[in-house]
Point group: C2
Chain length 435, copies 2
């Protein structure tokens, strides 16, 4: 499809979707001055939309715009399909159909990639086409390409990300204002920082999609999304944020993939107490950041706007630019750093096998020896404690905050269930992992 | 030189230099498990050292090691020269000779690249070879490749870096301990964080080399190193750090390249007051970070260890890996995103034309109306003030700290020289730009 010869022939794009990101991408492509000159070899050949008569921010000739998306993905003239419609279907089917027709793919669709990595990359490898997905994680932040091309000379040990701007915005405001979750969420919704149905963000599902993708690339194995442990931020209270701060921590929703030992990975999303001096502790508001630790590089972190038309359009356009460069120099042999070279699934350890520190808050009846009883229960399950502080009273109940050393989560849970049955214990209102 | 056929033929490296970075790189290449499998197609074919009988951390067969560096760069078997000897000569001559012999170059040498960009890339383009330099700026942090492959769909507006670990370490300790420059420098030298001759670091020369390279890539024009304005950190005092902190700033040595208008850039290194909430304000110790602002991406930042064997070896190895990938798929046509496509020099504005905020500290004789006199002088030269604070006394002298709005540096300097001649003014101990 790509003809490189004496006459430089443009690479033809079929863009699916003309929402925020699609519009941003078209704007970049139509306004090339001051950008890389290779972008001028890109031709917006077709744009697929759901509704033809909607008013648009960008003006495109009528003949380019169609609501027959299938006609675009099967059009023999099209070289690259840029999928920006989002959601699982029809995006997945269109991507697969395009691959079968030999088109290269650029997508911002974390939901499809995290769920159908196996199906999509198996098809892409068979068809000899690229599937580029820089925009699927971290908005404009270059992180997918660095993982593929810069960091994979390292043995990656950990990928830790703040990859959801909505929850980071909510937690930052809760921390700064001393507010509770519900109030800040409502305000964030009215300001447009959170969706009317905030589930995907606040329950950590969006972050789970993203860490599944990052973990696949960092650890060279496909990830089953159902293996990603996921807790959202609904149970984070202003009380815990305040205690965490006193102990030297901030609470962040982290997406973590960590090589625990030679044979298994942990991949998880949960609110986490982050030490104040940690690079991720200062990532505030809607910003995203992804920290990668490897050998021999040590720590590197990538920071920027994790969403928005401009940032995401930058990532999409850079994927298009890289495809143009590769197709120009080598239309037949794909660049081995840009294709998916691994075929097996990573083995993910169940959350019980995780070793981590914990923070737990207990409400106890003010009986003599209650701290001793807690200590005894933890001791029986090999849970050693870093600190135990009686922080005050809530009415008649004494409040005790415990931070453990690194312990096996299964052991910690068993100790907790025994502690819950103690007479002296009223309740355990909160429980967080500590980085 | 690169033969790709039925038999996969290894890419042969000639590595010049087996110091810290050379040793780190050889260790990565010899120990490939858990790294990208394409690294296995790399062969360490020759290693050039100054002294043959020095004890080494890595064991290499005697036949690979030679002190005849010229023989390596002219050896027809060698595909890639990895230049890790540092310094200007003989590095420059060896690189140029290697290019003339058709070798691709991987280098960590900021001094050679910043001074001889024009000569080296003119030769490389003529010979059709790559010159890769990820390791020249920011140690292991992927920043050169993101600029070339991810960010250049943007119109870059600003590149701001903390690119020298030694000065950032010194400033961080001065700030945390309330110490003066000389004490911290002496301690940093004894701990190995600063060189016995600290000039290149503390006078900003190392940072100037690096921002010249970053600015070339970000703004698509070669930079004359002598056009880079450069001030070091010797004049930063604990007094100013403390005042800056009260005003909501930290003092950092920033390397800045900024598109001031369509026709000219400012490229400069100087201590700068950075607002506490700015992403660069929290980059402490020996860490480096590079912040890029562009349209439409907004801000992105890259953070990590800016030096050290492991980090730098990661960058060098990733350049080698990328060359192997490109040479494998397309030995003849170079990837246009990885070659140097611009040939002219950027026009750099003289520092007098800079528009910036300033912080200045004055010691004044405590005469009535001295603040009024300052204000009048500044007003005459169109320098408008954001704040004027009498901060206290130093002996008989009153101390006044001024922060300006954005003003033209030339105007500010003229106002200052008039102020210096006032009877009421004893001295102007410090003067910094404000981000």
């Amino acid at each position: 499809m790509v003809e490189i010869g004496a006459l430089s022939v443009g690479i033809k794009l079929g863009i699916l979707g003309l929402g925020t990101v699609g519009t941003g991408t078209v704007e970049v492509l139509l306004d090339g001055a001051g950008r890389h000159p290779l972008l001028s070899e890109v031709e917006i050949y077709r744009v697929g939309v759901r509704t033809l008569d909607k008013p648009r921010q960008v003006q495109l000739p009528d003949r380019l715009v169609t609501n027959d998306l299938e006609a675009i993905v099967t059009d023999p003239q099209v070289d690259i399909i840029v999928e920006l419609i989002g959601g699982v279907e029809p995006a997945r089917s269109l991507i697969l159909q395009a691959i079968q027709c030999g088109k290269h793919i650029v997508t911002a669709n974390k939901a499809v990639i995290s769920r159908f990595w196996d199906e999509i990359f198996t098809a892409a490898n068979k068809a000899g086409v690229y599937v580029m997905l820089e925009a699927a994680v971290g908005g404009g932040i270059p992180v997918i390409r660095p993982l593929k091309q810069s960091l994979n000379v390292n043995r990656i040990k950990t990928v830790i990300g703040i990859v959801n701007g909505t929850t980071n915005y909510i937690l930052t405001r809760m921390q700064r204002e001393g507010s509770n979750f519900d109030e800040v969420l409502a305000d964030a919704q009215s300001l447009g920082y959170a969706e009317a149905d905030p589930t995907a963000d606040v329950d950590g599902l969006d972050a789970a999609d993203k860490i599944a993708i990052l973990a696949s690339l960092a650890f060279d194995g496909r990830i089953k999304l159902e293996d990603v442990y996921c807790e959202g931020i609904r149970q984070v209270s202003k009380t815990d944020i305040a205690y965490a701060e006193k102990l030297g921590f901030v609470i962040k929703l982290l997406a973590i993939a960590k090589q625990d030992n030679d044979t298994s990975l942990s991949v998880r999303v949960h609110p986490t107490l982050v030490p104040r001096e940690h690079p991720l502790a200062n990532i505030n508001g809607v910003y995203n950041a992804i920290l990668v630790e490897g050998e021999p590089i040590g720590q590197v972190m990538f920071f920027g706007a994790g969403a928005g038309a401009g940032a995401t359009a930058s990532a999409v356009s850079s994927d298009i630019l890289n495809l143009v460069a590769e197709l120009k120099i080598s239309p037949q042999n794909p660049n081995p750093l840009l294709t998916c070279r691994f075929h097996s699934f990573s083995k993910i350890a169940p959350i019980e096998e995780l070793f981590t520190r914990f923070y737990a808050r207990f409400l106890t009846r003010d009986q003599p020896g209650v701290i001793g009883k807690l200590g005894t229960c933890f001791g029986e399950y090999d849970v050693s404690l870093e600190s135990v502080v009686q922080t005050g009273f809530q009415g008649e109940l004494a409040e005790i905050v415990v931070v453990t050393h690194n312990v096996r989560e299964g052991d910690f849970r068993q100790a907790l269930s025994q502690i819950e049955s103690l007479d002296a214990i009223d309740s355990i209102p909160s429980l967080f992992r500590v980085l």
